[in-house]
């Protein structure tokens, strides 16, 4: 109903908002006028019927009523189709004319009906334009002026002033209203503009974000390594297609999976699960490139914490690299070294044996010179054998085949054996080889005698090699309550500070020259370090140029037989 009325009152062509408002107002006035006119006609009719005899006034209504309705209709058409201002002006002029017939000229000019002239003044300010109130105040005054002349009274000057006063007030209020409406429209327009701009910005940002996200996803999807992102609770929240290729689980399967569920797969060896979980849960700083077997593939896994802008940990990102080919190559290399080393040993053993037999005169007497040559063959063969042994050990360590066999062994025997192996070598260089067993050292400990001996012999051999005069001191003693130590102290050249960092690396010697001078391929210390670490121990070096070096191996002290099923070694 309300909207129908609204439609009815609103002019069809709504271009100027003020014009529209005025035309609408005029429409309302016209409708009201029509209703009032119709009501007037009805009242007149009722009056005629009740009194039986029509008065002159009523007759006037009967005649003028329809004329007025026709006029209203005309103005309405004008208002709707052409101009609101013209229609309004005509409407108000009609009103002025109409007023003339509403009361006696005397009452109109200054009596009870004078107020009707205020109506066109106020309506003109609203309906046509604020300043039009003055025009209609003037027209009203003119009409009153002629009325007063026609009835022969003096003009109502006070009334004229009153009309102009009303005109001023109407002008001011209409102007204020229009100004306020105008300001409101400006504010609205600005707001609209701002909304449009903001919407544009948001849409641009959204597009950018979508493009950026798409680009990131494309990058993630084209990485050859598998990537899984876990949230703080260890639930996978993101993965890429490479992961699917590596662990044979689809992206949708992986996302939402808990860490434990992911690892609890028959593809993952039970022994690998613990270390993988440790890496991924705590993203342990010290583990990197963790090698695990996943189904048929060998994977190298790394993990890092993901932090947001405020350095808060929001999860872990794990990267899985296919290491299968590398692992195969490594395996081939190790197998190759093992075979070659093994095959080298047999003929070397034969050379050593024959040289020794020549020297020992098994095949008849030899002279001093021949004995010397035999010794030289033996020494060089021994050196070659050492290198082959080192290579074999290194290969075994790398292949993870080297096993530490914990059995009961006697430190005293270890030292005796070392002395047996190294004494001649030391005395040949006029070095004093001292072996010292601390009295508080338990007489029986649990360890791998073969590997312990290898550690001590390697370090002592190294010390003798790099010491030209003085002594090499091998010391075994308890260290604290839970550890024991092997110390090899020499009076050699010492190791430069910058070299201390890499002396335990494979195939390294302090400088290229000393390799030639001292022999070996630079594996001895590397093997020692790896053996010590396999025994959960630590090796440290202190050295002073010109004074000598001290190598200290610290190992956990185990005195009770923890693996009683392993028979005690017969070596002791």
């Amino acid at each position: 109903m309300k909207t129908t009325l609204q439609k009815f009152f609103t002019p069809p062509e709504a271009t100027d908002l003020d014009e529209t408002r005025r035309r609408k107002l005029l429409n309302i006035l016209l409708v009201s006028m029509s209703i009032l006119t119709v009501m007037g006609i009805i009242f007149a009719a009722i009056d005629v019927l009740s009194r039986g005899k029509p008065s002159q006034d009523l007759m006037l209504i009967f005649i003028s009523g329809p004329i007025l309705l026709l006029l209203i209709a005309g103005i309405s058409i004008l208002n709707r189709k052409y101009s609101g201002k013209i229609a309004g002006t005509i409407f108000l002029l009609v009103l002025l004319v109409l007023f003339y017939f509403t009361d006696s000229p005397a009452e109109l000019a200054g009596g009870r009906s004078f107020f009707v002239f205020i109506i066109p003044v106020t309506i003109a300010s609203l309906l046509i334009s604020p300043a039009m109130s003055f025009i209609f105040a003037f027209l009203g005054s003119l009409e009153i002026f002629f009325i007063t002349i026609s009835i022969g009274t003096s003009p109502n000057y006070a009334g004229f002033i009153g009309l102009f006063l009303v005109a001023i007030i109407s002008w001011l209020s209409a102007r204020g209203l229009e100004q306020a409406l105008h300001d409101l429209r400006v504010v609205n327009a600005e707001l609209d503009q701002r909304v449009v701009e903001r919407t544009k910005e948001l849409s641009a940002a959204l597009t950018r974000e979508t493009v950026e996200a798409g680009r990131r996803e494309a990058i993630l999807n084209s990485i050859a390594d598998g990537v899984i992102v876990f949230d703080r609770n260890g639930t996978a929240i993101l993965s890429n297609p490479s992961t699917t290729n590596l662990i044979h689980k689809s992206q949708s399967e992986i996302v939402g999976m808990g860490l434990n569920d992911l690892l609890d797969s028959e593809d993952v060896k039970p022994e690998d699960r613990g270390s993988l979980a440790a890496l991924l849960e705590k993203s342990a700083q010290d583990i990197s490139n963790l090698r695990v077997q996943w189904g048929r593939k060998t994977l190298s896994v790394n993990a890092a914490e993901v932090r947001d802008g405020t350095s808060q940990t929001i999860g872990t990102v794990a990267v899985f690299r296919d290491f299968t080919r590398e692992a195969e190559l490594e395996q081939m290399k190790n197998t190759f070294i093992a075979i070659v080393s093994h095959e080298l040993r047999t003929p070397l053993n034969a050379i050593l044996g024959y040289a020794e037999m020549l020297k020992e005169a098994v095949y008849g007497q030899v002279n001093e010179k021949q004995k010397n040559v035999s010794s030289r063959i033996m020494t060089n063969t021994q050196r070659l054998l050492e290198i082959v042994s080192d290579l074999l050990d290194q290969a075994q360590i790398e292949a993870g085949k080297l096993k530490i066999q914990m059995v009961a062994c006697k430190p005293a025997v270890l030292l005796d054996n070392v002395r047996g192996v190294m004494e001649k070598f030391a005395s040949d260089k006029n070095l004093n080889l001292i072996t010292e067993l601390d009295p508080s050292m338990p007489s029986m400990i649990i360890g791998d005698p073969q590997r312990l001996q290898q550690i001590i012999v390697n370090l002592t051999n190294n010390a003798v090699k790099f010491t030209d005069s003085g002594s090499v001191h091998v010391k075994v003693a308890p260290f604290g309550e839970k550890n024991w130590q092997i110390q090899i102290i020499d009076t050699g050249d010492g190791i430069p500070k910058d070299a201390l960092a890499y002396i335990f690396e494979s195939f390294r010697q302090v400088d290229g020259l000393s390799t030639r001078q001292h022999g070996g391929v630079g594996l001895g210390l590397s093997i020692v370090k790896q053996l010590v670490e396999r025994m959960n121990g630590k090796i440290t070096t202190e050295s002073e140029i010109g004074k000598g070096s001290t190598f200290t191996v610290t190992l956990p002290l185990i005195t009770q037989d923890v693996s009683s099923t392993v028979p005690p070694s017969r070596q002791e």
Binding site: H342, R345, P347, N349, L352, V362, Q571
Partner: protein, 120 residues
Amino acid sequence: MSELALIIEDDEDLAEIFGQALKAADYTIEIIRDGLVAQERLGQVVPTVITLDMHIPHVSGKTLLDQIRADERLTKTRVVVATADAQLGEAMRGMADLVLIKPITFTQLRDLTFRLHQKK
């Protein structure tokens, strides 16, 4: 006649060296380079010392060692396992009298076996 030493070793040169070492340790030596021959010979003779290579043709060193340990006639026979494989050597320590990891030198074998000889 001096005591018998069996050298079960397939490498010709090592067999020669071990043979000479045992000869120098005052044993009568017999070199066998095949597992099947070794099995047969072990049923016929009672050696004082046997040097046993773990990798010989046809029969493994481990099988031979088991056979020796199961044979009542050979309870006094000392078995010296000679192997290049340190791991295997460690595993044999419980059954062998001596385990020598190759390279094994002439004097080493001579002196060790000479001591076994003297103990008897």
